[in-house]
């Protein structure tokens, strides 16, 4: 149990939060872990708040409930802060990662009474520059792996190269862009702990 890492993703329908939750599970699977990746289904529509989850463990996972006390919270859309209680249940030793162009201290001011670890990443811009399209989920994935240290950087990059080549076998032109977005996100995600 203690080696289980639980991640809760907050996004809006259409932004790929579910895909990101599954991608993270995929990456951990490729690294030899037991994983679960699942969305919380509701009456989704484009733009409505959605939640997705990732569990990663070195032991078999039997729990089949949603995640209420995550180790990491990933906010794919910063406009959800204040609308959805994104911080609910976050473990004291955990961290929140927000997709925003703002600095961590600016985001911290929007989170009431939070003095835990906080990281920001401008996933939108990275995606736009690396892929030419606004798909924040690849950079968010890189940021979570970096912040959580769930696997070594080079192992993760190698795994994802392989995974993207497989996933985009019919459109190889996007592999390089996705890899660029991934590597940049791992460099550019930053916290305000110092």
């Amino acid at each position: 149990m203690s080696n289980m890492m639980e991640v809760r993703w907050h996004g809006r329908g259409g932004q790929g939060a579910k895909t990101a939750a599954l991608l993270l599970a995929d990456a951990a699977f490729d690294a030899g872990k037991y994983v679960q990746g699942f969305p919380e289904y509701g009456p989704e529509r484009m733009g409505a708040p959605i939640t997705a989850y990732t569990r990663i463990s070195s032991d078999k996972i039997t729990i089949h409930s949603n995640i209420y006390e995550p180790d990491y919270v990933v906010v794919v859309d910063e406009t959800l802060i204040g609308v959805v209680d994104v911080m609910k249940g976050l473990k004291p030793a955990g961290a929140v990662i927000v997709n925003t162009e703002k600095k961590p201290d600016e985001i911290r001011r929007c989170l009431e009474n939070y003095d835990g670890r906080l990281y920001t990443i401008d996933a939108q811009r990275i995606s736009q520059e690396a892929l030419g399209r606004p798909f924040p989920n690849t950079p968010m994935l890189g940021a979570v792996v970096k912040v959580s240290g769930m696997m070594a950087d080079d192992e993760f990059i190698k795994t994802m190269q392989h995974s993207f080549e497989h996933k985009f076998a019919s459109k190889t032109e996007v592999v390089a862009g996705n890899m660029k977005a991934l590597v940049r996100s791992m460099q550019e995600v930053h916290g305000d702990e110092n």
Partner: protein, 393 residues
């Protein structure tokens, strides 16, 4: 060599179907089982299977097409959920009484109303008396393994009955998890070639299927059908033995989890069993003698074996993810309690209705159930027998 993969429950079923390569699949989409025929249709389009895929206009038609196809001697499969299963109702009985071993994936979902797309067992529990064998699955692995075994169980000459393989809608059907797949050839050899005992397309033995059956014979046919269901117990055991030899994965009528020296246990099926296992581990680590009995085969109902497995307990909670509206408890409870009747000294037994319409069930909820069993053990008074878990009232 087993193949290490990660698939959702729906992907796992579609993949099993692909490996089995049935003669016919007839289906109509309904959430949350839609992905099964959807993924399978891709295999058809890619010519990865040579199955005839019949896309029909309703679930009633889907089951009717399955009946026609299986009567002709073709190995036939389908998938459905909730109201889709309800719309098949009339035809479920026809498939079973015509002794047609159709294999169906049921992705459990609440029945309307109020309309709801999430997991509970009101669909398959309502169909429990239709004459179908029912297997329940905790996760994607069990859904896959049960589906492959279902073919052999249903088609066995001493059985010849349709089988539904159930799993929880969204909770496992849409969750990506690790899974060990068998190789294509291993699956193909395991299920073998379908050789129907009788078929409409056999020119050497002309038969009638589905004619009117008067009072002079109807009852004998029902008796034979009931006997076939009894036979399914032994056949399920034999098939599981063969399956274990191939995969190392053991399947009994139920899984007795940490039931040695147990004083209290819960009885549950499908995904909540996994969540409850985690609670059992936590409570065991704290020195509590708790266990879990997860029913895999609900039809036929392994009455004597369940009785034996629970006989030594002091208190039992039976979990029902559907309301039977009997005003006296859910369907699993009624059967499990009845199974205990022959005992001279029976455990105290209570029922919890839980998780209706997808109400999430956490390890804390399961802990509350065990807590109530500890209370009962202490006072030797079951109190209210018919209870609800995690409900506002």
């Amino acid at each position: 060599m087993a193949i290490r993969e990660r698939l959702s429950g729906n992907e796992a079923i579609a993949y099993a179907m692909k490996q089995i390569n049935p003669d016919v699949v007839a289906a109509f989409p309904i959430t949350p089982s839609t992905e099964i025929p959807q993924y399978f249709s891709q295999y058809v389009a890619d010519q990865a299977v040579d199955t005839g895929l019949i896309l029909v206009e309703s679930e009633h038609s889907a089951m009717s097409a399955c009946i026609g196809s299986q009567s002709a001697g073709a190995r036939t499969m389908t998938a459905t959920s909730s109201c889709g299963l309800a719309l098949m109702w009339e035809m479920l009985y026809v498939a079973a009484s015509n002794r047609l071993p159709v294999t169906m994936a049921v992705v459990n979902r609440a029945l309307s109303g109020p309309i709801n797309i999430h997991a509970d067992h009101s669909d398959s529990m309502g169909a429990r008396d239709a004459g179908w064998i029912q297997l329940y699955s905790e996760n994607n692995q069990e859904a896959y393994d049960n589906f492959i075994q279902a073919v052999r169980i249903g088609e066995h000459a001493q059985v010849q009955l349709p089988v539904m393989v159930c799993q929880d809608g969204f909770i496992t059907s849409h969750s990506i998890e690790n899974i060990e797949l068998m190789e294509d050839e291993v699956v193909k050899n395991f299920v073998g070639q379908y050789e129907p005992v009788t078929s409409l397309l056999n020119p050497h033995e002309a038969i009638a299927i589905g004619p009117y059956d008067s009072a002079a014979y109807y009852m004998e046919h029902k008796r034979q059908q009931a006997e076939a269901m009894k036979n399914a117990c032994q056949v399920a055991k034999e098939v599981a033995t063969d399956f274990e030899a191939l995969t190392g994965r053991r399947y009994d009528y139920f899984e007795a989890y940490r039931m040695e020296d147990t004083e209290t246990a819960i009885v549950v099926l499908n995904s909540t069993a996994g969540t409850a296992k985690s609670t059992v581990d936590t409570l065991r680590a704290a020195g509590k003698k708790v266990g879990l009995l997860k029913i895999r085969m609900f039809r036929p109902f392994p009455q004597e074996e369940i009785c034996q497995a629970l006989a030594h307990l002091k208190a039992v909670a039976v979990m029902d993810r559907s309301e039977g509206f009997s005003a006296a408890g859910g369907p699993v409870f009624a059967e499990v309690r009845s199974a205990l009747y022959p005992l001279e000294q029976r455990p105290q037994i209570i029922n919890y209705i839980y998780g209706l319409g997808g109400r999430d069930v956490t390890t804390q909820h399961i802990e509350m159930v065990y807590e109530s069993l500890f209370d009962i053990m202490e006072t030797n008074d079951p109190g209210e027998v018919y209870r609800y878990l995690s409900v506002r009232e």
